[in-house]
């Protein structure tokens, strides 16, 4: 999948792995517990909305922790529908903010309801599917959507609106893809453990990415065995959620710099994942990449490989302390099940071999 590999330790070793997640409950293993030799702690780090939790969910899914309980499904329905509503609200608010009127009067009515009263239970009514879809297709909303870099909107918006007829039904059951696509802002720190053979356990730690959440990362820094740093390729035209006006790429670079050059991580294998490759490829087809990066050759701006190569250089330039041979760089599309499975296997192999070398 066009991975750029800096490290030579990247083999396609299909190690068989027992999928037995032991704990999804952070009470079970908080950071304070003594470091177990047979336990490998992998931190998922990155700025906000870089896809840490999406990868986390993917790993959860292909290690057998699917949606099992009915109760859980009901919770998920709620979350998916909440996502739909939030997307709709954000879009409607954006039309006001950007001064783009919603064109059809009946869509304006729908918008009013969305802002004022609509809640997730209402979406059980199939009639909402049509109303929301017609709102989504309204020229005003579409125009706002095209200008989505000017406000905060989830990446999943289009997907959710295209699947409204499924979601707005009393028989709706969320699919794995739906769950992967939904966005929930992660708060605090959560973890999950599963066996990776050789009597070893891998403990994957997911964290929140906004500035205030980052202050909590430090709690895990001294128990860490590997770091997976995610950054979103498609964020080159976006501003921060917690600080509008601050460029996301700049923030990602800053955070990466802080983490990778941290003295605690000198001897720790480090993986840099460029996430949202799918979105990125779509985006550069319509948007100018070179507009945001002055050092980039304008002629190449429609070539995703060249762009990614440029981004890679940008990030690797930040590394001043960390030994380069223990840094691996890959691209990822975390919403793609097969791709994330493959990439995660590679990451795991990389980490394991690095561990062995020690």
């Amino acid at each position: 999948m066009g991975n750029i590999v800096v490290s030579p330790h990247d083999k396609e070793g299909q190690h068989h792995m027992m999928a037995t997640p032991t704990s999804n409950n952070p009470n079970g293993g908080s950071a304070a517990t003594a470091k177990n030799k047979s336990e490998i702690t992998v931190l998922l780090l990155g700025a906000g909305e870089s896809g840490k939790s999406t990868l986390f969910k993917q790993v959860q899914f292909f290690h057998g922790v699917g949606i099992t309980h009915d109760q859980e499904r009901i919770e998920l329905i709620e979350i998916v529908r909440l996502n739909v509503l939030e997307n709709a609200k954000n879009l409607v608010a954006a039309t006001q903010h950007l001064n783009i009127p919603i064109e059809q009067p009946e869509n304006r009515e729908t918008a009013k309801l969305i802002i004022n009263s609509l809640n997730t239970n209402d979406l059980e009514d199939p009639s909402w599917s049509k109303r929301l879809y017609s709102l989504w297709k309204d020229a005003g909303i579409q125009k706002a959507y095209e200008n989505r870099e000017k406000f905060q909107l989830y990446d999943s918006t289009e997907y959710l609106f295209e699947n409204l007829d499924r979601i707005c039904s009393d028989k709706y059951v969320p699919t794995v893809v739906d769950v992967i696509r939904t966005r929930t802002k992660t708060i605090g720190i959560t973890d999950m453990k599963f066996d990776v053979g050789d009597g070893k356990q891998l403990r994957l730690v997911d964290v929140g990415g906004q500035r205030n959440e980052r202050r909590k990362w430090i709690h895990f820094f001294n128990t860490v065995d590997a770091v997976v740093f995610l950054t979103s390729l498609s964020e080159f035209d976006l501003n921060l959620y917690e600080d509008n006006g601050y460029w996301r790429v700049k923030e990602s670079l800053r955070v990466f710099n802080e983490v990778v050059n941290n003295a605690l991580f000198y001897k720790v294998p480090f993986v840099l994942l460029f996430n949202k490759r799918d979105l990125f490829e779509k985006k550069i087809a319509t948007k100018s990449f070179s507009k945001y990066f002055s050092g980039f050759n304008e002629a190449e701006e429609k070539n995703p490989v060249a762009c990614i190569e440029y981004m890679t250089k940008l990030f690797l330039n930040e590394i001043t302390e960390h030994p380069l041979d223990t840094v691996s760089v890959k691209t990822l599309s975390a919403i793609d099940h097969d791709n994330s499975k493959q990439v995660f296997e590679e990451v795991k192999q990389f980490i394991m071999t690095q561990q062995h070398r020690e």
Binding site: N24, P26, L82, I187, I189, N212, K216, Y241, N244, G245
Partner: protein, 557 residues
């Protein structure tokens, strides 16, 4: 026309029987308001009773027969074809009677009625009742009177027919309702030993076959009652202020009762009820606000059940009286909080003056508060249910347990916040959730949630105090250097920054901002909440909730 005549006749007959005797006593006028309020509770209670009857899981054939909607048939009385709401079904009446005792207890604990009123009532009762020797089933009862007599007398003393409004829709005729209402007072007199049951039963019965005697020492009973009743009440000693304090107490309780009840209504009464409510709304006088409140609340809520879309469009039209009541509810709510010096930010001097000052604010709502309330109200219009639950978070335990009794748990979880805020009302679970959050390094959210609710519920502070508190909260939660920095969107952070730059000059705005932040944080906490639900503690909680629904009470620990 043929059918109408007997109906009118019987109605006028009933009235004339009562009105003949009303001139006897003039006592009730001074306590009229008191009574009206009590009557509202009474109505609300009977309604509620209906509901529990509908929803009770073990609906035996017998109880379903007493269901007023099913009993609706020509066999009852000639009035039914004209007014389908009146059912003189004996079984229904019986059922209501059985629930009366608990209602009376419940009302006494809420202190809707003033001490003076009950004592006056007892005195008059003592002087008016005719005592004679009765015989029944081979037993003789010396110097006794029947339950029926006493109910009749009470209804005259309190001029029940001026208070009792028929057409309330619980399937009773006006005369039945009057009797039932009067029976409440008999029960109160019995409870406080102004009268006693000849065979020492606890429950008062409105019949010719149960006999009661007057207590020997009225003075003794009076002083006992005073101690007993006012011990619970904790009011300053002057009778007028007692009355006022009582009414303000009852205000807040009444609000919550009627709100909860009327919300509960909607499940059952559906669109028919809407029509009824609207009809009767047309009938009532504008100046009788308390009753109007119940009506309008019922109308708006029940219409919301039938069409959730209409719900949030209607409040602006209907909310006039609603808002006023809500306002006063907030005020009286503060009174509760001030009595319990749990909130650290009131440095008021002593108990009595606390109440007095609080009371004075109840009476005259000053200008800045007006603005805040309207601001708050506007904001909470889309989610009135959950706001209620929030308010109850930091109230006195007594009130909390009361809130549990009312069917507020039955409210449909309409807003996105309600299930979480419902859950967080449980103090024990809130602590559990806090511990869990601490393990996940996200305790700042729940701490903020608690602190801001305290802040929002304490709007009796002066503007200066409010500003100081808002600043404190700001320094604790908002800037990037703060101890508990929150995960808030940049727009909100910018707004906070702007306000902070003006030193929180416009406190009303700041309050609004905190409300916004609260909504945001509640939303944010859903992430933690989802994971918390997988845990053991939550399962226990759910089990407990289920058990409570079934009527079992399990120990919390």
């Amino acid at each position: 026309m043929h059918e109408e005549d007997p109906a009118q006749d019987s109605a006028t007959n009933e009235l004339s029987v009562v009105t003949k005797l009303t001139d006897l006593i003039d006592q009730s006028t001074s306590h009229h308001n008191c009574l009206v309020r009590f009557y509202e509770d009474f109505c609300g209670y009977l309604k509620d009773d209906d509901d529990s009857l509908f929803s009770s899981p073990n609906t035996s054939p017998k109880s379903s027969a007493s269901n007023p909607l099913i009993v609706e048939s020509p066999m009852t009385s000639p009035m039914t074809p004209l007014s389908p709401r009146k059912h003189s079904s004996n079984q229904l009446l019986k059922r209501k009677r059985n629930h009366l005792t608990s209602f009376v207890d419940f009302c006494l604990s809420k202190k809707v009625l003033s001490v003076e009123f009950i004592i006056d009532l007892a005195k008059q009762f003592h002087s008016e009742i005719s005592v004679k020797d009765n015989r029944y089933l081979l037993k003789s009862f010396k110097e006794s009177f029947t339950g029926k007599d006493s109910t009749l007398l009470i209804s005259q003393i309190i001029k029940a027919e001026t208070i009792v409004e028929s057409n309330n829709g619980f399937g009773l005729s006006q005369s039945d309702e009057i009797r039932l209402f009067s029976q409440c007072f008999c029960q109160i007199l019995l409870n406080y030993k102004f009268i006693f049951h000849m065979t020492h039963k606890k429950q008062f019965k409105d019949s010719n076959n149960s006999f009661y005697g007057l207590c020997k020492n009225l003075k003794q009973a009076e002083s006992d009652f005073r101690n007993d009743y006012s011990a619970k009440i904790q009011t300053p000693s002057t009778p007028t202020s007692k009355l006022e304090a009582n009414s303000s107490h009852s205000n807040s309780f009444r609000k919550s009762i009627s709100l909860a009840l009327s919300l509960n209504l909607k499940k059952v009464h559906e669109s028919k009820e809407v029509k009824e409510a609207e009809e009767s709304e047309d009938e009532y006088d504008e100046h009788e606000l308390p009753i109007g409140y119940i009506r309008s609340a019922r109308a708006s809520t029940s219409s919301s059940s039938s069409s959730p879309i209409v719900d949030n469009l209607t409040p602006p039209n209907k909310s006039h009286s609603f808002n006023i009541n809500r306002k006063s509810r907030r005020n009286t709510l503060m009174l509760n909080q001030l009595i319990i010096p749990k909130l650290n930010f009131n440095n008021l001097m002593n108990h009595e003056s606390e109440i007095n000052s609080a009371k004075s604010t109840v009476v005259e709502i000053s200008e800045p508060f007006e603005i805040q309330f309207s601001v708050l109200n506007r904001n909470e219009n889309p989610i009135p249910n959950s706001k209620d639950s929030d308010e109850e978070l930091f109230e006195s335990p007594r009130r909390f347990s009361f809130a549990k009794k009312t069917p507020s748990a039955d409210l449909p979880s309409t807003s996105r916040r309600s299930s979480l805020s419902e859950f967080l009302r449980d103090t024990y679970m809130r602590e559990q959730f806090k511990t869990f959050s601490k393990d996940e390094y996200s305790q700042e959210n729940i701490i903020f949630y608690e602190e801001v609710l305290k802040f929002l519920n304490s709007i009796f502070l002066s503007e200066e105090e409010q500003r100081a508190l808002a600043l404190k909260l700001y320094q604790l939660f908002i800037p990037s250097t703060s101890v508990y920095q929150l995960n808030l969107p940049s727009k909100l952070l910018a707004k906070f920054k702007d306000e902070f730059d003006t030193d929180f000059d416009n406190v009303a705005n700041v309050v609004l901002l905190y409300k916004e932040a609260l909504t945001e944080i509640e939303h944010v906490m859903k992430d933690t909440y989802t994971r918390f639900k997988m845990g053991k503690e939550y399962q226990k909680y759910k089990l407990r909730m289920l058990n409570e629904d079934d009527g079992f009470t399990t120990s919390r620990y």
